[in-house]
């Protein structure tokens, strides 16, 4: 087989690159090897090379513990390879077989010693609710209801115990349904039948999870249904090896876990760049014209419309859309804005590049215009040549391969895990509108003589407040996603932010900004803690949207003033350089801090609060708010 042959060539190339010390290239080829032939046979050789490359690559590290009632070992190499292909180094701990209850309840168990970032509770209906699964027909109606209530109660206890012992994200497999219920079609006539009770448990599970930060439900039943219940299971394999999932679907299980691991580790795409001809519509606008291109509610235009609907869904989730097309501007814009079959219009795109330059160059410019890293871009194009050109020039871009059939395009984009989000902030939902304001600002900026004049014209108003119920999700999200203006690049979960905010010596502040062009929303976070005479800045970050608007000075001035008011003598801060945070490099120096020391990780800066101060720029109107974080958000309690 030719793919067999080229795979072995590719492997040899990876080994040569590793020997030569070209680790980045080796990693790219290794990821390609996985993309070409993902599966159980190929995974071990990728893992062994990954283990050699290990520390030498700039991968995001996360530790995942899997608590389980079935054999998951064969899935572990698959999920590690999938994670690697998205730039994540995943360390996995597998709990003992069917020991999940003890492991959760025992604070000194191997689960907690592993100090996981993410915990998956992979248990099956047959083990969690054995009565309902196997013996439903023997149970009186009241007894069945009681059995369901007991299961819900168990979940409540496990989750509460887990949250007391760990801040890790918890992902719980929901209960799967039976292939055929004990009473057959009769079961479908009542909501308190076998399937109805399982649905009820799942509903309750979601309610309980929603009462906690960082507890999520993986809809296992929907996963099984998506791939076909008849095919998902392998009963003989289950009975002999305790592996319930058929060979072909182990990869699908690992990919479902990735849909949680990616948003939890911040490896997500912030923008999707789409091609036009034969991607957003069928045909070539420059040749086929307005009447010739295919997009609409019927075949074959429906496939393109479905893709457009998918794009709109992503945009409602806060993912920016952009166009990159080789076309004549007038032709393409006419189709975008005038064709009756189009669901997306030019206003839905935050950046548009229609020209004949190569696409990788356009993608670089789009990233710059949107103020996001190139690695936050995803790219979709029907043309294989364009995709490979982008992959080669910009390996950090997520390139989505489209299948042959346009009716499958939408699914290919929906399946891509880099668009997954676990929480949605108000900022996410309004992002496209905010970028429209951004364009107006950029236009205005060019017409002013000095920066100061422009700042005055902007009429910026900032509101600084301690983190609250309403802002917790966004604050955590910013720590996870902000790469550029971020002095320490420390990533925190909602849970960790809530814990910090609860301590009296810690101060977690957020800043919201609006100006004459619109509302930027919550765009900055500062976390500091008092220690003796010092107040140390743990985190200081600004969303790229407001970099260069002096908003950071406003926030820092507040931090310095309040620290001095609490009697601190110095404000201390570390700058820890990364590949991306150059915009924050001179932040402390520019605000009068003195460099104290440097080590391999970064430099430590100090401001003498007795002598120096940081002034809020006169063009920013500052408001202070003091809504405290409500107790119910803290570790133990549920929301109700």
């Amino acid at each position: 087989m030719s793919s067999e042959h080229s795979s072995s060539n590719l492997r040899a190339e990876v080994d040569r690159l590793i020997t030569e010390g070209a680790f980045d290239f080796a990693a790219q080829r290794l990821a390609e090897l996985w993309r070409r032939d993902p599966g159980l046979a190929g995974a071990p050789s990728i893992i062994s090379r990954l283990d050699q490359l290990g520390e030498k690559l700039p991968l995001t590290k996360i530790k995942v513990a899997i608590l389980r009632s079935f054999t998951v070992e064969p899935i572990v190499p698959l999920v590690r390879c999938e994670a690697f292909s998205y730039g994540i180094d995943l360390a996995v701990h597998v709990g003992d077989f069917n020991a999940y209850v003890q492991e959760i309840l025992d604070a000194s168990s191997s689960l907690y010693r592993f100090a996981p970032d993410v915990v998956v509770l992979a248990v099956r209906t047959a083990e969690v609710a054995p009565d309902l699964w196997h013996k439903f027909a023997d149970l009186a109606p009241g007894a069945a209801q009681q059995a369901a209530a007991r299961v819900v109660h168990s979940y409540e206890q496990w989750i509460a115990a887990f949250r007391e012992r760990s801040q890790a994200a918890l992902i719980i497999h929901s209960l799967e349904q039976l292939r055929i219920p004990s009473f057959g079609v009769m079961d479908g006539q009542s909501e308190s039948g076998q399937c109805g009770l399982l649905r009820q448990i799942n509903r309750e599970l979601r309610r309980i999870a929603a009462g906690y930060l960082g507890v999520y439900v993986l809809d296992y039943d929907a996963l099984v249904a998506r791939h076909g219940r008849e095919h998902w299971h392998d009963e003989r394999r289950w009975l002999t090896t305790r592996l319930p999932i058929a060979t072909d679907h182990l990869l699908h299980m690992s990919r479902e876990w990735m849909r949680f691991a990616l948003p939890l580790s911040g490896r997500v795409a912030k923008a999707l760049v789409v091609d036009l001809d034969n991607t957003l519509w069928g045909g070539v606008i420059g040749e086929d014209g307005m009447t010739g291109i295919r997009v609409g509610p019927e075949y074959p235009g429906a496939g393109y419309q479905a893709l457009q609907r998918t794009l709109l869904d992503l945009s409602r989730k806060g993912i920016l859309l952009a166009v990159c097309s080789k076309n004549n501007v007038a032709d393409a814009m006419e189709a975008l804005d005038k064709h009756p079959g189009m669901l997306v219009r030019s206003k839905d795109f935050a950046a548009i590049r229609i020209n004949w330059t190569d696409k990788s160059q356009n993608l670089r410019e789009i990233a710059q215009e949107l103020n996001i890293g190139v690695d936050s871009l995803a790219f979709v194009d029907d043309n294989r040549f364009e995709r490979e050109q982008v992959r080669a020039a910009l390996p950090e871009v997520t390139v989505i391969d489209l299948p042959e059939n346009p009716l499958d395009y939408a699914a290919a984009v929906r399946d891509c895990p880099v668009f997954e989000r676990l929480i949605l902030s108000a900022e996410d939902q309004q992002r496209t509108a905010m970028y429209a304001g951004q364009k107006a600002r950029a236009g205005a900026e060019q017409s002013f003589q000095s920066k100061e004049d422009f700042f005055r014209y902007l009429e910026q108003e900032a509101e600084i407040a301690p983190v609250s119920d309403l802002t917790l999700a966004r604050v955590a999200q910013l720590t996870q996603k902000t790469n550029q203006f971020n002095v320490t690049t420390r990533r925190y979960t909602e849970q960790q932010i809530a814990e910090m905010a609860a301590r009296p010596e810690w101060h977690v502040l957020s800043i919201k900004v609006r100006d004459r062009f619109g509302d930027h929303g919550l765009v900055g976070v500062a976390i500091a803690h008092d220690q003796g005479e010092q107040c140390e800045v743990d985190t200081f970050l600004m969303s790229c949207r407001v970099i260069g608007r002096t908003v950071e000075t406003a926030l820092l001035s507040h931090l310095a003033e309040t620290a001095a008011a609490r009697g601190r003598k110095q404000l201390i801060g570390w700058f820890l350089p990364t590949k991306k945070n150059a915009p924050a490099r001179d932040f402390y120096a520019e605000h009068g801090f003195q460099r104290q020391e440097s080590n391999g990780d970064g430099s430590r800066w100090s401001l003498d609060l007795g002598r120096a101060q940081v002034r809020c720029p006169e063009w920013i109107k500052l408001e202070l708010s003091d809504h405290e974080l409500n107790d119910r958000k803290l570790t133990k309690g549920g929301r109700n």
Binding site: M1, E4, G39, L40, A41, G42, P44, S45, S48, T71, E73, P74, P77, R236, L239, T240, T241, L243, T247, D248, L250
Partner: protein
């Protein structure tokens, strides 16, 4: 040239067990290779199923006592499937 079934099985076993291909013979078995435990046996079975598109019954899993027998089993399964 397509590698023989034995060559392919040996390649898979080499990857799964983390042993160089040329160190594996038809006689290599759980007794002669210390990595070849029950979990690796399952991994080998799954990789074979995936690679050759066959399904192996519990009885067949037990027949896979060395690499030569694995290859023979795969050949038998492939010839019984209409190609």
């Amino acid at each position: 040239m397509t590698p023989s079934i034995f060559e392919q099985v040996r390649g898979i076993a080499s990857d799964i067990l983390g042993v160089q291909s040329d160190k594996i013979t038809a006689e290599s078995s759980p007794e002669t290779m210390e990595n070849w435990d029950s979990i690796q046996h399952l991994n080998l079975v799954l990789a074979i199923e995936e690679k050759f598109g066959v399904q192996l019954a519990p009885e067949e899993m037990e027949q896979m006592k060395n690499v030569g027998l694995v290859a023979a089993l795969v050949e038998k399964k492939l010839s019984s499937v209409s190609r």
